[in-house]
Symmetry: none
Subunit: 194 residues, 4 copies
DNA sequence: TATGAATGAGACTTCATTCAT
DNA sequence: TATGAATGAAGTCTCATTCAT
């Protein structure tokens, strides 16, 4: 196995444990066990716990960024894209605990992480914003809509609803959920005729 | 100073430090210093770090719950209530770091905290949901809207937008922001005429 | 209550707790509670825990010395005296845990206590030895017997037998026990005719 | 070095320090230093101070039991056995501080140790008692002698005399001492002709 | 290269002692 | 005089890191 492959394996193990236990709550031994290697071996690939954490965040962010980018490029309408994004997020929440947790917990050493984390957050926002702008061009979104807020609404609604639903009920979202989210986001909740 | 007052002082100090550093990253001495007392004194009021953390979460949740309840009862229309809620959240994010952080970090010891945390999360969701139902009755929100999702959309959008904005720019939201959020939430982003 | 009376009350409380928990295992608060006073009050009478301990040992030793002296002076024959001594020791073991424990545990800070403790041990030995010499004079004990060893045999046998019996069975010794001890000590266990 | 050998090394270091300073008076670092290892290493072999103490007592008791058993089986007459036992105890007192101290100090956490300690105490008593019964059979000890008391007399006299002598004078017992002890125990101190 | 036994800095916690009331 | 809230030194224990194998 190449050095790079091994690092990736450690990243995946580290991410899993950091997600669950947070930075300070994670023991290097936990990560080593999760990766199925010896404690000392981790130090062959990473200088310190802090470095491993930082690189794990970078790795995770980049991976997530790539996945989201892919997802969004594949959809044709914004509605479809929102559905796809929601599904992707649900999958992520399910697969390795809410990314929210990672993000929030990464604040633990926010001062050091600052740049990396912000950069990622902005990147995902930008990706969604770009889709919004495209959708405005195509007449799918009203021109007067602020793309920043639209982007926040999309991401925020998805995360809040699925986060809560999946944590509370430990059930996966159903197809109907996606429809309702798209509806709320596209048409709002207000009664224009009222 | 009464025993209860002293506990409250420690709660406020503890919350501040836990917010910034997370559970494991916080030293009891940090909290003591923040509260302007000796390390041993904290142990006169709380049996252990874990107990202090749990009670701090309860305290914070209850306080936040009370504040949100007050805020929402004061507004007359849902639009006003959303604005008020957004202002309140912005204030909170500013005042003592995003509650999101607290909540997310509290997951670190989720197993033990379980009930308390879920209860709070559900409580805030319920408070907003009730407002939605009321707004449906009053014809302000469309009847076919799912109140769960509407509630998630409101909370999620506010948190996502202000969280990002305030963390990135460290600036307070402007009045215009509230208008735009209300607009997006009430009317959606879709171009119905398109 | 006079200062001296109060000190005596604290001595009795301290002895009780020190017996059970040893020097390091005893908290000043335990002693204060046992004496029915406040923690700070103990410091009105004793400068430190160590001083209190040392004075408590002195107090206990002197009290025990006085009691043993009394006991031994009252008996007329050595047999009677051994019986009385055994009864007295049994009472002591019962009343406030084996003095052995005190003595042994006091070794914890043996370096500091040295003199006091040794002095007491020697004093009791001397008291018994004097009785032996008297008994030799009166023809009750054989002249060739070494008084040091006789003294050790008396004390050792009593402590070992009752200590074990009372700790194991938590029962008080019976009259017959005293007879048997006296017999073993006076006549030995050997079969001279054998 | 095998794991078991290392544990034994720690046992010996722990016993030495516990003997001198008692349970509460002993620091884990003291034991580590005595064993010539790091503080953390002790925790590789024992979960906690309490566990180490308990296992050390068990180890010590078992070792002592084995030694005493050996000693007693080797002698032919009871007189010889008493001499051997006395020598063995003197050696023990000298070698690693009076076992009495250990036993007595172990009472500090008597509740937890209970079974182990009592078991040992009884075991040694039983070993001696068996020798007494044998000696009665062989006509060396009078038939009417109570073996319990005889056993207590032997152990008690030896411990009391040597304990005091060695602590006071820090000198080893002489050959003559053993003779006198045997004499007192076998023939008693009484003047039968008197 | 891979390992895990060994380490010791640093955390949580206890408790002797102080001191304002 | 009597108290107990407050304190911080010091102990137990954890775990990131090292290094001999």
């Amino acid at each position: 196995m190449s050095k790079e492959q091994k690092k990736t394996e450690i990243f995946r193990a580290a991410r899993k444990v950091f997600y669950i236990k947070g930075f300070e709550g994670t023991k290097m031994e936990d990560i080593a066990k999760e990766a199925g290697i010896g404690k000392g071996t981790v130090y062959e690939y990473f200088e310190s716990k802090k470095q491993l954490f930082e690189e794990t965040v970078v790795y995770s962010c980049e991976e997530q960024g790539r996945i989201i980018q892919d997802i969004l490029e594949r959809g044709s309408s914004l509605k479809e894209k929102i559905r796809a994004l929601a599904k992707c997020q649900a999958e992520m929440i399910k697969e390795h605990m809410p990314i929210v947790r990672m993000m929030a917990c990464s604040k633990i050493i926010a001062r050091e992480m600052g740049a990396v984390f912000m950069e990622h957050n902005i990147r995902v926002g930008e990706i969604i914003k770009k889709q919004i702008l495209q959708a405005i061009d195509q007449g799918e979104v009203r021109a007067e809509i602020n793309p920043e807020i639209a982007s926040a609404a999309i991401m925020g609604t998805i995360m809040q609803y699925f986060g809560k639903k999946m944590i509370c009920t430990e059930a996966m979202p159903e197809e109907a959920d996606y429809d309702k989210i798209v509806q709320v986001l596209m048409s709002g909740i207000g009664n224009e005729t009222g």
